[in-house]
Symmetry: C2
Subunit: 414 residues, 2 copies
């Protein structure tokens, strides 16, 4: 099918794309093909406007009164409710606070504190490191009441037994884009008597998620990837509404109190997920996130997913058809239902190839030790971008441009 594909045909697909106009919300640098929105989503016009307003008018002019007059105090709940729609949660079940890492910690310690004789947490080796590190830290802090069992991906489901209290998994794998069947895995965990904490960092905003339908117990997610909330934007967390009383705050802070402005000495957890707000919210970062979420207003996540699958399918086929003599190995599942919205290839010189490609206006990223990763965000990525990216990748490999010395100096990229 793709043998007949041309740049003109891609252009024609873009013309007919019902989601094409969403791209106009973004301030993408002219000429750049940005395939790293799964690491840091780009700036939207509305995010820029919201930050400017928060800076100049709210903080600058109205100062401390803005906590009430501009709704700063409720921002974690209000913005949480906007994210809730994207993950199939009721509006009051999601709150924005802290980093993804801190939120995992909060939910895990809160869950394990009430888990009785079931002391085990099961997770996957090769999960995003912060998930693993948090769990190792919790096991050390609360041991022997908590025992961590990190096993290979293929063994995760079998590892659950009558001692398992919590399964901690990332819905879409940060390297390979492998995607778990959220409904089926949740149901299986429940059948074994365990709860599931889903890390949605690499799925939210690109892959439809329905936490309610799955009866998922707990979830967290990053907002600066496919949600485009800005560098280090605060993360979100979800607790299934019937579990909120079961799940203490993890970290008891003044904004998680039922009456923070009474300034009383004794902690009493707020109802619902509000108890997980903990400290004073970072308004500038929250304002950017609030603005960025407007790009999703009225967007049908199923339509977004259809476009994501079409783009990723095309990228895989174009790259493989052009570059298969150059030692690239696809590590992302070919079956669309088994992958998220990024595509990764392994190559021994992945780092240098990614640098050489960036010098040609195509930004992907490198993940140690040998992976080049391309995030394909359906809100703003065009079919012609996919065509051009594949062409330029081919050119880099064909000309061995990556051998140029300036592409070999290793730098950290998040």
């Amino acid at each position: 099918m793709l043998s007949s594909l041309s740049r003109e045909a891609c252009d024609s697909l873009d013309q007919r794309d019902a989601l094409a106009s969403l791209r106009s919300a973004f301030r993408l640098p002219p000429g750049l093909i940005y395939l790293d929105g799964n690491s840091l989503g780009p700036l939207t016009n509305e995010a820029a406007q919201r930050v400017t307003a928060a800076l100049d008018r709210e903080w600058g002019l109205d100062l401390v009164a803005s906590w009430n007059s501009h709704g700063w105090m409720d921002a974690p709940d209000r913005i949480g409710a906007r994210i809730a729609r994207l993950v199939g949660a009721s509006p009051e079940a999601v709150v924005v606070a802290d980093s993804t890492t801190v939120n995992i910690f909060k939910l895990v310690v809160a869950w394990m504190h009430g888990s009785g004789s079931r002391c085990r947490i099961v997770t996957e080796l090769g999960n995003f490191p912060t998930d693993l590190y948090v769990l190792q830290g919790v096991a050390e802090l609360l041991g022997p009441a908590v025992e961590l069992q990190a096993v290979a991906r293929k063994d995760v489901l079998d590892a659950m037994d009558s001692s398992t209290s919590l399964l901690v998994l990332t819905h879409v794998h940060y390297k390979t884009a492998e995607m778990y069947d959220l409904d089926a895995v949740t149901a299986l965990a429940h059948a074994r008597g365990a709860a599931v904490l889903w890390d949605l960092s690499h799925s939210v905003g690109a892959v439809p998620v329905d936490l309610q339908r799955a009866r998922a117990d707990l979830a967290v997610g990053c907002t600066y990837k496919f949600l485009n909330g800005g560098p280090g934007a605060p993360a979100f967390l979800y607790v299934r509404p019937d579990l909120t009383e079961r799940v203490g705050p993890g970290i008891a802070g003044w904004l998680g109190h039922e009456a923070p402005f009474d300034f009383i000495d004794e902690y009493r957890a707020a109802a619902g997920v509000r108890r997980h707000r903990v400290g004073t919210p970072g308004i500038l970062s929250l304002s950017a996130l609030d603005g960025s979420l407007s790009a999703f207003d009225d967007v049908d996540m199923a339509a977004l997913r259809t476009k994501s699958v079409a783009l990723t399918d095309m990228f895989i086929e174009l790259v493989e058809s052009r570059c298969n003599s150059h030692g690239l190995t696809l590590i992302t599942p070919r079956a669309p239902q088994c992958r998220g919205s990024h595509v990764s290839f392994a190559h021994p010189r992945a780092y240098s190839i990614v640098q050489a490609l960036a010098a040609r206006g195509v930004v992907g990223d490198f993940r140690a030790p040998d992976i080049m990763r391309f995030g394909i965000a359906p809100l703003y990525t065009r079919f012609v971008d996919i065509w051009d990216a594949a062409e330029r990748l081919h050119a880099v490999l064909q000309t061995q441009a990556w051998q140029e010395p300036q592409f070999n100096e290793r730098k950290a990229v998040t």
Copy 2:
């Protein structure tokens, strides 16, 4: 002495004030007397410029490359080093991360995890609620290995015994502005075999602090009060350099790993305070903080303190001389060496008085149940502001303006 004081004399003090030019760094709304910088410091020109640059040029144009090219990844350390000077710490001993609440949690659990048979934490009833709530949460989470002893202020020092591992105190009290002698209290705790965690939220940027001289063990602080870092700006934490190996990360996250970009499965804590970075830093909020700290460049903290004492002395004397028939009670210590940089009065109608005063262009704040609090930031507060604020407070009381119904509707203010 003050009987001869006049607005003209205040104006003359401002003319002779060597620190007067620092006010030009701030974007204060014209005509407003802002005495709430101990709750939310005002916007500086440089903070606004830094956020705009981070937004438009860094995030907007350079996107993910900014983690390296604009130093985002090192921002928590770099900005921590700028704060270090203001608290008498070596540059590498301070890092910016998370909220004050989360930082207290991190340091307390890390400290108590290695505290052996000493299981007690001593703190003060009436401490800022988040400090108390965190400690209650830690005691519940780690009990019986951790026991919390919250006692009246007058009993704090006597409460320490051979079971005490950690004393958690706020240097300057958020309501009364009472200030502990940081050196003496630290020395006393050490003599009892306990460590001290100082919460510097209401002192940093207004009161000289010398953590090294005091040999203070641990410290945290808020950056959006006297440091003017912006609403909900990330907090800082300090660990005495010889203790960093003793103090695990509390929450083990990917950015606290010694090699985050190796993406390995096993956590290994970074050296020093870097292990406390935890998650991805919020760059927009950090940029504001970075800009705001420039207002302190070349500022001598001793000179700032001298001005703070002069301003607070004057405010106390002017208010008391004018308003003492109106039922105000000073709850801030009269002795300058015993107080920080805010002044508080108790009054049964404090809430309404604060509202009525705000309507007359003087912003202070209310703290339940009956306290009006006036933050006096020496970087931008003038002697004429103190004169005018006292005059207007007197007018509000004299005319009973606070009885107007619009000043009685209670709203939360942080």
